[in-house]
Symmetry: C2
Subunit: 690 residues, 2 copies
């Protein structure tokens, strides 16, 4: 990067651009960028580069980058794959600060693709050139008329300029967001198709725009969580700048995750990990396409960390409002009825409503004064954090009755989110141009509310050494793992290592019955190979158990010498939990809690957070695991020591702060949970180093 030019300037506000491989045929993909730049009235200098033509689309072209009269700020390379690598080399040699690559053919899984990728990475490392793509449909800055794109959606001449910046792994989606956004009154400041992120990631590109006063908020379309660390850094900075982010992330289904792998070459994480990551970054995750497109105005009105938000619904149509309540409540958001005080205020204003979860104005009447008075009361009633007016038939032809009063509440301190039941585009437009978040389906309305409310206040990134990759991947044996738990301050069952060749029963510092387990870092799943005997009642039985274990391991894992066993007292409690820690390649350290056992697997019943967490977060995690209700005094049963469980989660999550040892995976399973006040006890732990 040249000193005088920031990444944002070169990327999004270049003074001059080269289009390498610009075609003379405007109908071809490689013919579009010049056409769109001219059509938009780009005010910088444009250098079409075409090795075989002096003129393209009626203007002079250059034969090579080297022939240009100046070094352009940004080159869009629209040549086929092999030419693209050469063009990047040329750009780097000439000192072009940013190049964007259209071509495909750079996937890791294909040997040629991997070679090309390595070449690009090498060029970046050697020269400092920054790349967008490959597979980028381009970079657009509507405000500066930089339409450096091959996306056909930008053929439109009447593009709405706004204050949202969109970035997408999918190039075609930036076009869809443009037209979908325009249809609901949303304009963009810029849109970038980030492609395969060989160099510049979606996070870095967005971060480069954070100081742009013309950008208020961000829309992201994510296919993978590749380079999620830069996304997190951007999200933190965006939160600090008060600029909200709403994202759609593919991968609810295993099928889509598999497709993302083949499509982008990225690893597919599990969907709840992405969910956790986005929430912990303060990024709203829309679950529906309409929620993504329509949701940002609402997300912008709801503060981060508002998971306990309480929604009040008011309506002129019982059926339509019930649809909204059904969706909002089903997504886990509290929908509440008016307090006695609010009912009294409504009555005083002449509005009689039944004391129900819904403020139904049907009987009072869909009239301006009624709706306005009800809204004014709800917007000042302390029990509601968000007011959702649902408007029926009148919205279509008589917006003055129940839509205008909502518009006239635009200045209220409390946020509103309107759902219009009939087809009523004008009513939606009226609301949106007044700045009121408005939705055409109950699903999009509920989705946007949930996306906003699930965002957590992002935590600062804890500085830690990068884990060397790939390392030895060594597993700790159970004694070493126990020592790590001791250092973390997690209580564990006493344990004695006993030589497997022992002839007489050893003295133990605890009483029988005991559990006997093979002790070897080579065996991660001891039970699977017959490496565990439980409820051993005496010294004689202990010797027999050791012999049995040796026999079974010799048969099943002849490669593993059994030198020692671990002996522990049998411990029991009210129940068990599983507490895990893992450093994801993309998302970094995560901590997890589940009930353990096969039900955790079958129901995917677990809670995750970016590590480290504090006690309050740990308690929130415990509350999210359905099966752990069993330990919270379920149906009159005694309650488990959830404070101690939370303490263990916090303690394990501190691995994220520790550089030594470089733990990439740790799992305490089971962690015995005793009665409240009696603590928890780790019985087994699996720890993997980098």
């Amino acid at each position: 990067m040249t000193e005088s030019l920031t990444l944002r300037q070169a990327l999004l506000s270049p003074r001059s651009v080269a289009i390498v491989g610009q075609s003379d045929d405007a109908a071809k993909t490689a013919g579009r960028p010049l056409k769109y730049l001219r059509q938009a009235g780009y005010r910088g200098r444009i250098y079409p580069v075409n090795a075989r033509r002096d003129m393209v689309l009626g203007e002079p072209a250059w034969r090579s980058l080297g022939a240009l009269p100046e070094r352009p700020d940004h080159a869009y390379i629209v040549t086929p794959t092999d030419g693209a690598v050469v063009a990047v080399e040329d750009c780097a040699r000439l000192g072009v600060p940013v190049a964007t690559i259209l071509a495909d053919g750079f996937t890791e899984s294909d040997p040629d693709g991997a070679t090309r990728l390595a070449r690009l990475r090498g060029i970046c490392a050697e020269t400092g050139i920054r790349l967008v793509g490959p597979s980028s449909l381009g970079v657009v800055n509507l405000r500066d008329r930089v339409l450096l794109t091959a996306n056909a959606a930008f053929a439109e001449t009447d593009i709405r300029v706004g204050r949202i910046f969109a970035a997408s792994h999918s190039g075609s989606l930036i076009g869809a967001l443009l037209s979908r956004g325009a249809a609901c009154g949303i304009g963009f400041a810029g849109l970038v198709s980030v492609g395969n992120e060989v160099d510049l990631s979606i996070g870095e590109i967005c971060a480069a725009t954070l100081d742009d006063p013309n950008v208020d908020a961000y829309l992201l379309f994510l296919e993978t969580m590749r380079k999620a660390d830069t996304l997190r850094a951007f999200a933190l900075a965006a939160a600090a700048a008060g600029k909200p982010i709403l994202a759609y992330k593919l991968g609810r289904s295993a099928e889509a995750r598999e497709l993302a792998v083949s499509h982008t070459g990225a690893l597919a994480g599990e969907d709840d990990m992405a969910d956790t990551f986005l929430a912990d970054c303060g990024i709203g995750r829309a679950d529906t396409f309409d929620g993504l497109v329509e949701g940002l105005p609402l997300v912008a009105r709801i503060p981060l960390g508002a998971s306990g938000i309480r929604v009040g619904v008011v309506t002129t149509t019982g059926g339509g409002a019930s649809m909204a309540i059904d969706r909002i409540a089903a997504s886990g958001i509290a929908v509440i009825g008016p307090s006695a005080t609010t009912l009294a205020r409504l009555a005083k204003a002449g509005i009689e409503v039944a004391p129900a979860r819904l403020i139904d104005l049907t009987i009072a009447g869909a009239r301006y004064d009624v709706v306005k008075a009800a809204l004014d009361i709800m917007l000042t009633a302390p029990e509601f954090d968000l007011v959702v007016p649902v408007v029926g038939s009148s919205a279509r032809f008589h917006p003055q009755l129940a839509v205008q009063p909502i518009v006239d509440c635009a200045g209220a301190a409390k946020p509103l989110a309107a759902f219009i039941v009939p087809e009523a585009p004008q009513a939606l437009e009226l609301l949106r141009s007044a700045g009121i978040p408005a939705f055409r389906t109950p699903e999009a309305c509920a989705d946007a509310i949930a996306a906003a409310a699930r965002r957590r206040v992002p935590k600062p990134i804890v500085a830690r050494k990068r884990i060397p990759s790939p390392g030895s991947g060594r597993l700790l044996d159970e004694l070493e793992a126990g020592a790590l738990l001791d250092r973390l301050g997690i209580a564990r069952a006493p344990a004695a290592a006993v030589a497997a060749g022992v002839k007489t029963a050893p003295e133990l510092s605890f009483t029988y019955p005991v559990a006997v387990k093979v002790l070897s870092p080579a065996i991660a799943h001891k039970t699977d190979v017959g490496g565990v005997v439980l409820d051993v009642q005496s010294g004689t039985d202990l010797l027999a158990a050791i012999k049995a274990i040796r026999g079974r391991i010799a048969a099943q894992r002849p490669d593993v010498p059994v030198e020692r066993v671990l002996v522990q007292p049998m411990v029991s409690g009210l129940g068990e939990a599983l507490v895990g820690y893992r450093v994801d390649r993309d998302m970094g350290p995560l901590v997890m809690v589940a009930a353990g056992g096969v039900m955790t697997e079958i129901y995917r019943d677990r809670s995750l957070r970016l590590a480290p967490v504090d006690l309050a977060e740990a308690h929130a995690m415990i509350a999210e695991v359905k099966a752990l209700k069993m330990l919270a005094g379920y149906r009159g049963k005694p309650a488990g020591d959830l404070d101690a469980l939370a303490g263990a989660i916090v303690a394990l999550s501190r691995l994220a702060r520790m550089d030594d040892p470089a733990v990439v995976e740790a799992e305490i399973n089971p962690l015995i949970v005793r009665r409240a006040g009696e603590g928890v006890l780790a019985v087994d732990a699996l720890v993997k180093l980098a």
Copy 2:
């Protein structure tokens, strides 16, 4: 009903109508019906009835029903509540065959409302008049221009007439369906706001239209499952007539179910019961508003019982298609890639695609010939049951490229469902007017596919005596329950009844260890009151166990004399199941299977069907319960006797055919499942008579 007039004629094609309480003020709700009828050009005779005016809206009015020159076929009563009852009496006296009531105020929970309801029911029973409502916004037959409605949505003059009949518990929703439908090219033959169904139910009203050759399909908006028996009868007849039904049912959340109770006075069932009921009736259940409005054309193309449907996706936009695949797959529908044969056919046509789950034409190019050839091949490839083309940016301004080829496949034998990623209303219209189901969001597309595929082939209703209600509600004791299981052919653990006062240990026909349980129909949950002792090892222990049980019951349930205990051998197996049967007041007999235990409750992990079921259905039910995977050879563990489990489900479901005893609830819990081939064994059963 007069002999010469069918219900359909009087209800939907009356030759003459009275509007009782017609107002002179067209702005008022009670002023609308006359206005809309005149505006629509209704060709029958209209009799406005107004007790205080000779003229309303510029035409003569009658002072009373009795003053009319003829007996109208249908009266719409738009007076306030009390006047409505009087008007119904007048109608009945005059022999008006059908009356529709607008007024509210007939809820069971309010004493005055209950009195009015009883009065209406009395009038119906005495006179045979049929009522729509109360709380009905009216009855509309667009083809015959019968706009007998007070719904403001019908003020529109340019209403599209079509072949769909809509019926809704919510009156405002018929208006929303009208405008939403029109926006996506759907017209209606008729729309009815059924209100509280004091007499005519939504099922009866729809059934009355089944012989109408102008009605092809049905859209329902359901707030409750009240009078579900008539809905089922209608659904069976509709399936026989080849007329598909798509419904939206409120109540995914407990909050909305509670609202339905207060709003409609109906009982709220559980949502999965409604789900099961609708599926077993062959009614598609849309989960989204757009899915309801846009989905019927697709539902009409998919046969009943197509749960194993395999979807092929083809696209010109990878990101957009991934959204569709993600949603479709997440809703449990199989999305598959092309077979080797299909890939070869594509290659032969010059279309190179990667062998992935998605047929991505991005590289081949978004051109008519490419897309058309790919569609032709997919539509004749045996591996796909449904083809989903996803069209990107080109759909917006160049529909000839990738939309027209879909249109030109309209005649294919295999169904298509298109999703258009950008905002492209013209493309959607082009597709829809060619009869191609088309969707503006991936969510609606997936929702419609899932709604269609989840419909089962409806079973004939098994004739059985109506269970007297309310009956004694007597619980059988465990021995009586055991005898019932014997009659049903469900194996159970041997059991001996022992007098609680016994002084010496009885001879048993089975060996120790045994379980000892209090035997009393007054105690449904024996464990909760200390009424069970397990693992009793000897005669002496048995006497001690009986004593302990007597002591605990005396302390906790002094009202219950402990006369006998039941002694059973301890039985064990690979696992347990819970099999239940229940006669729902509205939906009739249902059978249920779950894994039992607290996890069933926490995760709501159960499968339901209308009873009786056959073996194939019972196996499908078992496959739906996640926790029962544990008994299906999960992770190399031995498999349980799922055939025997299915047999027990079938056997218990046969209670639906038995009139004596009138069992309203039965639950086998636990049903011990042994290894494959070794059968199942009921250990405890709870049976409740009507």
